[in-house]
């Protein structure tokens, strides 16, 4: 059984799945276009540049952001032993978000864009984003303020922090070009592009990991103190990272350094999360085999670790001079967003459905979803990393530009196949969720407190 308050959470998560399938298909269209530029060509609506913008915005805002907001609406009331402050407001936010995603796709395909990477949406849609961000913040903060549980579990720290950072990050990245352009705008663009990942997707994702992990393993969190250190260090270091996207570029050296040094320090918050997850799992690893939610959660954590080793490496001036602008970078960017935090939201959705509907429709389909996603992404990631290294050294050798493109054509094919498996996995996921919800099984324990989370 799910309370009416959970309707908004479920609405966010299920809408997210729809957008996931739709906008990942757009990713596949891009991959095919890179192999055959005449695929869906000769028309403005489906030209490469526009489809790519819709793919990026669609998966970032339609899928992952909606999935994470849904997770927060589900988790926060439970950790606060209360109801969501206003389920009407949450439903309003849900409707706004879905309107946003549809308008985003239509405007970008029509060529209405600001041209700012990750901030492509035109200003009326920016206002809608602000409404969504502020109503979500208000709803969550009020729920926490009226909580019946004195302790603020670490997940709430991460959630509230992220909700404060999101509007600030978004505003700085989307100030109209007429007001601030040029290199300052590029710098602010990357401040936004980086922090929307680090202070929104990452931090809400970590909060969700900290909620699910003790419940799924039925073991107390390894160290509460360490999770606190993790929160405050990510809050301290992450926001400085933007300029590392312009390393070797047209910005002063001091600004590059201000971006690179904190990137290296990020290993501290990353390690607190990873050590906490592995510490909690000690003696419980056998459960990973049996529990598919846990499987996704652990996989997400491992991808998070790899992301945060790879990221600071490619931010250094030497590696950046080879890898920047190559396919390595999109290969890397998919790791936190798909490999790590999409996996966390998958875990969240399966966990919630199991609680509310008794059981997942098909374990087999769950396994297919898992292996297609993970193996598909590994093919996708490795082909792009290898392609990136080849491109980088081709440019360094001074070969004609076309040589760098011809050299990676077969790797682009592998990327397309990997991406195809990733998408296929999500189709199994969507069908499985649909069938599970149709079962209409009711579980009465759902609104019981999640006592195991307490430390």
């Amino acid at each position: 059984m799910y309370s009416t308050a959970d309707r908004a959470a479920r609405g966010f998560l299920f809408s997210g799945i729809l957008w996931l399938v739709l906008f990942m298909s757009m990713g596949l269209i891009i991959a095919v276009k890179q192999l055959n530029p005449d695929f869906f060509a000769h028309m403005p609506w489906l030209t490469y540049g526009r489809v790519r913008m819709v793919h990026v915005n669609g998966v970032l805002f339609g899928w992952l952001s909606m999935g994470l907001i849904g997770s927060m609406f589900y988790i926060i009331p439970r950790l606060c032993r209360t109801q969501l402050f206003s389920s009407k407001l949450a439903t309003f936010t849900l409707v706004c978000t879905n309107i946003l995603i549809v308008s985003m796709a239509v405007t970008l395909l029509a060529g209405l864009t600001t041209g700012i990477e990750y901030g492509e949406m035109i200003w009326p849609l920016d206002i809608l984003v602000a409404v969504i961000a502020v109503t979500t913040l208000y709803n969550c903060v009020m729920t926490v303020a009226k909580r019946k549980e004195n302790q603020l579990y670490v997940s709430i720290w991460y959630f509230i922090g992220s909700l404060i950072w999101l509007p600030l990050v978004y505003i700085i990245g989307n100030i109209p070009s007429e007001w601030i352009g040029g290199i300052q705008q590029a710098n602010m663009n990357w401040f936004y592009g980086h922090n929307v990942i680090g202070l929104w997707f990452t931090t809400v994702g970590i909060g969700t990991i900290y909620y699910l992990l003790p419940i799924l393993t039925k073991a107390p969190l390894y160290s509460h103190r360490m999770s606190m250190i993790g929160f405050w260090t990510i809050a301290t270091f992450y926001v400085w990272n933007g300029p590392h996207h312009l390393v070797n570029g047209p910005i002063p050296l001091w600004l590059m350094k201000a971006g690179i040094v904190p990137s290296l320090l990020l290993i501290i918050p990353v390690w607190t999360v990873v050590a906490n997850v592995f510490g909690t799992l000690k003696g419980h690893w056998h459960q990973v085999r049996a529990n598919n939610s846990l499987k996704f959660l652990v996989t997400g954590t491992i991808f998070y670790l790899i992301t945060c080793i790879q990221g600071p490496f490619q931010a250094l001036m030497g590696p950046s001079s080879v890898l920047k602008f190559t396919e390595w970078v999109p290969g890397h960017a998919h790791m936190p967003l798909f490999g790590a935090f999409s996996s966390v939201v998958f875990a969240m959705i399966y966990y919630m459905l199991e609680k509310q509907h008794g059981k997942i429709h098909s374990r087999g389909m769950q396994e297919v979803h898992f292996y297609f996603s993970v193996v598909g992404y590994l093919f996708f990631g490795f082909s792009m990393w290898i392609a990136g290294v080849i491109q980088g050294f081709s440019w360094i050798d001074g070969e004609p530009f076309m040589a760098s493109i011809n050299a990676i054509k077969s790797l682009n094919m592998v990327r397309g196949i990997g991406g195809g498996f990733m998408l296929l996995g999500q189709i199994f996921f969507a069908i499985n969720v649909w069938k599970t919800v149709k079962q209409q099984r009711i579980s009465a324990q759902d609104l019981e407190s999640d006592a195991s989370v307490r430390v």
Partner: protein
């Protein structure tokens, strides 16, 4: 304990955020290398509704910047791309079009590297015509006006003569000279 206080959490999160923002977003506005237009920037200061300005809009609307960067770095990989871009080169770029991916070559100084209008026309109409194996989509759907504007924009992407100084740079140097 303070760790159960919502206020501490909210104030701390906002405070640390503002500190990093101050350093990496606000401080750059005080750096004259980032706030002074160069002579190359002046070449890109298009009049509203000029062919170049309209062409730039075509470039943005079709997402050309998803595959083409506009910056040359002082690294070996960029050695054949022309002069290294300076922060002030972008002074009049609204929005900036630096880009982040090179599925296609850098276009910072494409007007100098490829000055032929005819080449651009054939290339935009069918990229495989001029560059066999290219994976760029054909922009044959653009109207004649749009194509002409886009070409005007691409041809305008040229560096100023070596050593040329913008008005703002001259002023800055005069100020420096006076203070010494």
């Amino acid at each position: 304990m303070f760790e159960n206080k919502l206020g501490v959490l909210m104030a701390g999160a906002a405070g640390l955020f503002l500190l990093g923002t101050l350093a990496t977003v606000v401080l750059p506005f005080t750096d004259t290398s980032m706030t002074t237009p160069t002579a190359s920037a002046e070449l890109r200061d298009y009049k509203p509704d000029s062919a170049e300005a309209r062409g730039r809009d075509v470039y943005i609307a079709n997402g050309c910047n998803t595959c083409h960067t506009q910056y040359v770095r002082p690294v070996k990989a960029d050695a054949n791309l022309g002069p290294v871009s300076q922060p002030g080169d972008y002074y009049f770029d609204t929005p900036h079009l630096l880009g982040s991916n090179r599925m296609g070559p850098d276009l910072m100084w494409i007007g100098q590297r490829q000055p032929s209008e005819d080449w651009h026309r054939r290339h935009l109409h069918n990229p495989r015509d001029t560059s066999p194996g290219s994976i760029m989509p054909a922009y044959d759907y653009l109207s004649d006006q749009e194509t002409n504007d886009l070409i005007a924009y691409l041809l305008s992407l040229k560096p100023a003569a070596p050593g040329a100084k913008s008005e703002a740079e001259k002023k800055l140097e005069a100020q420096k000279g006076a203070s010494e």
